[in-house]
């Protein structure tokens, strides 16, 4: 049985874990990169980040002081019954978890007209979709400001094709990577609509770096990773051959006139969790 409170409990649990422990696939990729990085300064930075992950996990302190906004995506089986609106119970979970784990409160009341801190890191940014059957999949991301700020979206002409997409991704990395805390995880969304393509790019960040996506998306991921790493931006943007640990691509249908593409930067402290509840 899944209801709003089961979902909130999963979110509460996931926040503490994600804030203080580096995703295993990201840590493995970072360890591998510390062996292959060509720049001595780049290797120094990677070793610092690996040591950082150890300290955070051992001491239970945040990997990064920017403990982010809370992004939650709930895929809910239609046989379940939430029983009450999801937003308030998730917000309460965020409030509890941010106090309990001494995380940073990083949300302002209104982007333009009232930039006072809400004081409890709410609201969470929640999306709810349905699927057949029972249970729910809950995805949580703590998203730092630096990496989200370094993201970009373009509505390309369909004639731009794969080459146009590659050019846009690499140009975005070259322009914005140093503020996004490389080595990056680069999320790329391609297709759907103006508003939804950014969501695709964000969801791409949840995919494991241990494996490539199937089919042509996986081929594009490998090509893009090679191009991004050839920029020379390197760890912390201080020069080197590891600008990204991985590139993940999600594609979707779109309008006959459109080729939407979005890049959502993920930082070296990529913090996500996926929880299955039944």
């Amino acid at each position: 049985m899944v209801d709003a409170h089961t979902v909130a409990a999963a979110v509460r649990e996931a926040i503490g874990v994600a804030a203080t422990s580096l995703r295993p696939d990201v840590l493995a990729a970072m360890r591998a990169a510390s062996e292959t990085e060509a720049s001595p300064r780049g290797r120094r930075v990677l070793h610092q980040l690996i040591e950082n992950a150890r300290i955070a996990e051992t001491d239970g302190v945040p990997l990064c002081q920017d403990t982010g906004t809370v992004w939650v995506r709930v895929e809910l089986g239609v046989e379940e019954r939430l029983g009450e609106p999801l937003q308030p119970v998730i917000d309460q979970a965020v409030r509890d978890a941010y106090r309990k784990h001494a995380l940073r409160m990083s949300v302002v009341t209104d982007a333009l007209f009232d930039r006072s801190n809400t004081g409890d890191n709410t609201p969470a940014f929640v999306e709810l979709v349905t699927r057949p059957g029972h249970g729910a999949t809950i995805q949580v991301m703590l998203k730092g400001g630096g990496s989200d700020n370094s993201s970009a979206l373009a509505m390309l002409d369909p004639s731009a094709g794969v080459e146009g997409v590659k050019e846009f991704v690499v140009r975005t990395v070259e322009a914005k990577a140093t503020g996004a805390c490389p080595p990056l995880v680069v999320g790329v969304g391609i297709g759907s609509t103006f508003d939804k393509v950014a969501g695709l790019a964000k969801r791409a960040l949840l995919a494991s770096l241990d494996t490539d996506s199937p089919g042509r998306a996986g081929v594009l991921e490998r090509e893009l990773l090679g191009m991004v790493n050839a920029t020379g931006i390197g760890p912390a943007g201080l020069g080197g051959t590891t600008t990204a640990l991985g590139v993940k691509v999600l594609t979707a249908p779109c309008h006959i006139a459109a080729l939407p593409v979005a890049v959502n930067m993920g930082c070296s402290a990529m913090r996500t969790a996926t929880v299955e509840v039944v």
């Binding site: 060509a38 955070a56 945040p62 400001g145 050839a230 020379g232 201080l238």
Partner: protein
């Protein structure tokens, strides 16, 4: 990589002249955290009085908003925030007496020019290593604007806090120079 340079703060601008973009430095002594909202207030005070508030002349600004105290440390985690958001304020603050800034990421040409003009530097700390960096913070004391939460002006005492010289006082810019050496280079 040569051994890091050890530097004690506060530091005279004359001592910064020996630093070059790319140098690794371990900082010990006082810095003051200031990010977006803090900068707006410092700039307001500077505008009103013609002087930096809270005797910030000769001091170092650290672009950071820490997490609360944890694990027996002064702050749980603290690392650099993106420096370019402060670029609009920085030249005036360097002219008024700030001797160095600590942050992450590339900066606008006017910051490079201001560093050269004033003999000051910009240090880069490694973003995403805030749990490690917090072990180099001995104390944290709120000096002003506690209502800003994590954006309050906080005096932090550092010990061997690791940074790289990103912009030196001679026009050197590590973010502009470093990638070219590794562009198109294969991994080992």
């Amino acid at each position: 990589m040569p051994d890091p340079i050890r530097m004690t703060l506060p530091v005279d601008v004359a001592a910064l002249a020996g630093l070059r973009a790319g140098d690794e430095v371990l900082l010990s002594g006082a810095v003051y955290t200031a990010r977006d909202a803090t900068h707006a207030r410092i700039a307001e005070a500077l505008e009103a009085t013609g002087e930096l508030p809270f005797s910030l002349g000769g001091q170092v600004l650290f672009y950071a908003g820490p997490t609360p105290s944890a694990a027996g440390r002064a702050v749980g985690s603290v690392g650099p925030t993106t420096a370019k958001r402060m670029d609009a304020y920085t030249p005036a603050l360097l002219d008024a007496g700030i001797v160095a800034t600590i942050g992450k990421g590339a900066r606008a040409p006017q910051v490079l020019e201001a560093c050269e003009r004033t003999g000051t530097v910009y240090f880069a700390a490694v973003g995403g290593s805030a749990a490690l960096l917090a072990t180099h913070v001995l104390s944290a004391e709120t000096i002003a604007w506690p209502e800003l939460g994590t954006e309050a002006l906080v005096r932090m005492e550092l010990q061997d806090f690791p940074v790289f010289v990103a912009i030196d006082a001679h026009g050197g810019d590590l973010y502009a120079q470093a990638p070219s050496a590794w562009r198109g280079v294969e991994k080992r």
